[in-house]
């Protein structure tokens, strides 16, 4: 059976090879996402926006610098083993190999850090993944771009402080952190503890086992604690369940703050009225009245193409996050082309492009994404680039932005990142890069 399978697979591989041999002027981008399973809403939306953006760039500009963007999908089911298989399958595809890998899962990102570093393929884990990879000296190939969990979490506490009327008012307040019991969920516990000490509030961490569709006892505990604020660090089906459970125990929804993986239409609509007033952080906003989204409609959907079956999801939080993925990937390739020439680039050259990425407000305007995402400047030292988030409130039908970009508490986060990255470097015997020598 295995040999038959092998020859069949080889045939398939050759088919793919024949297709790529016709046109070598291509830049290949792997699309290892998930379209089934409990997290399909996130996966299909983000990869929908991502792929649509690439199609739009191909249709409107003929690719990047004349190089056409190609992609191939691979189903990971949000499962680490399947994700590693997808990575191994796609890393050598295209004329120059996989430009950059977006695992779209914290677990898969963890599993790929060593492999990608050895293969010299950059990984962008935008808004998820290993926080201390923000220290580019120890993680040359890993880019937790735009904002990481720790930054986001300090921005949340700042927002709570604003609402309470000043950071000094946080003293004596009670905050509950209800989290998805996984690597992703636990990532913010140390920074919350550090902040609790700094500002004098009490924090209780309550775990919800995967997948999170049963939260009765957790919310009973919350009712006993009577917190002033609840931070919801959920994912997938856990979010609407939490909102409904909060409604049941009578916890005010406008005192609940979600992470960006808890703040999409797919999280609030299933909860119905229970979601009204709920607040979530986001590094991108919802809405389709941005030139970049309009361009996708014009160049992709008007021609009868496009990834989204349900057109009403265009402009949703997840879809727009996919567009942000697209913008950053394409801009990184463009930046790398400035240095290495307008031709298909190797993953290592694309890595340089990501590390030297600088999307300022002028560039955002040219891209038609002003206010859609924040300006971004990546460097060898800082693999995060942005760090700010906007807070949005669900009004029962759509997400409404209620703040401007709120900056994180960098003085608190950066030393923690450097300490954690240095510990990783010591465990793994990695000497930090000297960033003054990088060009």
């Amino acid at each position: 059976m295995m040999r038959a399978l092998k020859s069949a697979l080889a045939g398939v591989a050759m088919l793919g090879f024949a297709a790529s041999a016709q046109a070598q002027n291509e830049q290949f981008i792997p699309m290892a996402g998930y379209w089934v399973g409990p997290y399909a809403a996130g996966g299909s939306g983000i990869y929908g926006g991502f792929i649509d953006y690439l199609d739009m760039v191909n249709a409107r500009d003929g690719g990047v610098g004349g190089v056409k963007l190609t992609y191939e999908k691979c189903e990971t089911e949000y499962n680490n083993a399947r994700g590693v298989e997808c990575y191994e399958r796609l890393k050598k595809k295209g004329p120059t190999g996989a430009s950059v890998f977006h695992p779209l899962s914290t677990g898969i990102t963890y599993s790929l850090i060593d492999k990608a570093t050895a293969d010299k393929i950059p990984i962008i884990s935008m808004g998820y993944g290993r926080t201390d990879a923000s220290d580019g000296r120890y993680f040359p190939y890993i880019f937790p771009l735009v904002t990481n969990y720790w930054s986001q979490n300090t921005a949340k506490i700042k927002f709570i402080g604003q609402r309470e009327g000043g950071m000094d008012k946080l003293k004596g307040k009670k905050i509950v952190n209800i989290y998805h019991d996984s690597a992703y969920g636990k990532e913010t516990i140390p920074v919350l503890d550090a902040q609790a000490k700094k500002y004098g509030f009490a924090v209780t961490h309550i775990a919800v086992p995967h997948p999170g569709n049963e939260q009765g006892s957790q919310w009973l505990q919350i009712r006993q604690i009577r917190p002033d604020w609840v931070i919801l660090r959920g994912w997938g089906v856990m979010n609407p369940t939490a909102l409904k459970a909060a409604a049941k125990v009578g916890f005010p929804r406008d005192k609940m703050i979600g992470v960006w993986w808890s703040g999409a239409e797919e999280d609030t609509i299933p909860a119905g009225d229970a979601a009204k007033g709920y607040i979530a952080a986001g590094f991108n906003v919802a809405g389709e009245n941005y030139p970049v989204v309009q361009d996708i409609k014009k160049h992709v959907y008007a021609k009868g193409k496009g990834e989204m079956e349900d057109k009403s999801r265009i402009g949703s939080i997840y879809y727009n996050r996919g567009v942000v993925h697209g913008i950053i990937t394409v801009e990184a390739i463009r930046k790398a082309q400035e240095k290495y020439g307008k031709k298909p680039l190797t993953p290592e050259q694309v890595r340089w492009g990501i590390e030297n990425l600088n999307i300022d407000e002028a560039r955002l305007k040219a891209l038609g994404a002003t206010g859609f995402m924040q300006a971004l400047k990546v460097s060898c030292l800082d693999h995060e680039g942005g760090g700010a988030v906007k807070f949005q409130q669900w009004d029962g039908t759509k997400w409404k932005v209620i703040t401007d970009w709120i900056q994180p508490d960098r003085e608190l986060v950066r030393p923690m990142i450097e300490q954690s990255a240095a510990a990783y470097g010591k465990e793994k015997n990695i000497a930090p890069r000297d960033c003054s020598k990088e060009s």
């Binding site: 059976m1 398939v12 089934v36 299909s44 298989e85 399958r89 492999k115």
Partner: protein, 358 residues
């Protein structure tokens, strides 16, 4: 004609009691080993080695572990993934905390830790049977994953609960290429699989089968229940523990407790149901089916879409995959309820008669 044991006379007890009494079987096993150890490393590329063959071997080992317990000793278990987790975390901690610990010794100790935990959770099997025992082992599944998450010591206080497997170094040689990891996994799996094959035909295996077939009768003819059932749990968990350590060290490199969830336990249970309950070969066949088939379906989907020139909706292909896979499982269970190994068995019977069937 080719496959017939007529004329093979056994002239000593040793010859009569060997693991593979039929000459053709010995040749076949030898050929498979030669193929796996020599031909595969020469021909397979990195993708095949690190993304297909290594997980296939590791899951085969875990399936053998479960098969010893469920297939041979008749104790239904839903805690396989948890015992793998014990193995992975134990190997990590042995290497982390004991200076100069050799990797292979750590793997054996990891298996031993899993065996101890297995014995502990096997205790209820002395009182309860069948579905009730399955529920008791379900407790192991949830308790172990919870404990590994809850107590930071197990993951060396890593903030996210994830462990990074150390580099594998044996006698100064570093196993970091896909090929070397494949060969290491293959060697361990080959040795343990042969050991399992040997075990099930000896006293231990026969006592397990006696308990499986009718435990009251087995007790009456003098098999101690305590020792038989707990030894099944211990050996099974040992195999699962080693598989878990390999899963962390030779395959993923980084694991979190949540990765060893109930889902994985069920997948391994499906492997033995599909492959053949009570068969070592079936463990390999079942693992091949469950691990390789979804990947195969997924990798034909893209080119198929390309070939027919119709762009299918994004989610459809992924959902179709699951449907085809599910339909095939049901089909197999209807056509051959005893699993793929039984098909092989029937094939062997047919080969014995060929070319002159009755």
């Amino acid at each position: 004609m080719l496959y017939r044991e007529a004329g093979q006379f056994k002239s000593s007890y040793a010859a009569d009691q060997q693991i593979f009494p039929i000459r053709q079987d010995r040749i076949a096993v030898g050929a498979v080993l030669v193929f796996a150890f020599i031909v595969v490393p020469l021909t397979a590329d990195q993708y095949w080695l690190s993304a297909i063959l290594v997980p296939f071997l590791i899951f085969s080992l875990a399936a053998i572990g479960l098969n010893l317990l469920t297939g041979y000793a008749g104790q239904l278990s839903l805690g396989t993934a948890a015992f793998m987790a014990v193995g992975a975390f134990a190997a990590y901690n042995f290497l982390l905390r004991v200076p100069g610990m050799p990797v292979l010794v750590a793997f054996v100790l990891a298996g031993a830790c899993a065996a101890l935990v297995g014995i502990l959770f096997g205790l209820p099997s002395l009182r309860i049977k069948g579905f009730y025992l399955a529920v008791a082992t379900l407790a192991a599944q949830f308790f172990i994953v919870w404990a590994l998450t809850k107590f930071g010591w197990f993951s060396n206080y890593s903030s996210s609960g994830v462990i990074n497997a150390q580099k594998i170094e044996i006698l100064g040689y570093r196993f970091d290429s896909p090929l070397s990891k494949y060969l290491l996994t293959l060697s361990i799996v080959a040795v343990l699989a042969l050991a399992a094959k040997n075990m099930v035909r000896g006293t231990v295996g026969r006592s397990w089968m006696a308990v499986r077939d009718m435990d009251v009768a087995a007790e009456v003819i003098g098999f101690p229940m305590l020792r038989t059932k707990l030894s099944a749990f211990a050996v099974s968990s040992f195999y699962c523990g080693v598989a878990g350590a390999l899963y962390a060290f030779c395959y993923l490199g980084t694991v979190e407790p949540e990765g060893f969830n109930l889902d994985l336990s069920f997948r391994i249970l499906f492997m033995i149901i599909l492959g053949g309950v009570g068969s070592i070969l079936g463990s390999f066949l079942g693992a091949a089916f469950i691990v390789l088939f979804p990947i195969f379906l997924n990798s034909v989907a893209g080119p198929l879409e390309h070939a027919i020139g119709v762009k299918l909706p994004a989610g459809l292909m992924s959902n179709l995959e699951l449907m085809i896979f599910g339909a095939l499982i049901i089909l197999f269970l209807i056509v051959e309820p005893h699993g793929l190994a039984r098909l092989w068995q029937i094939g062997k019977e047919k080969l014995r008669l060929w070319p002159f069937p009755h």
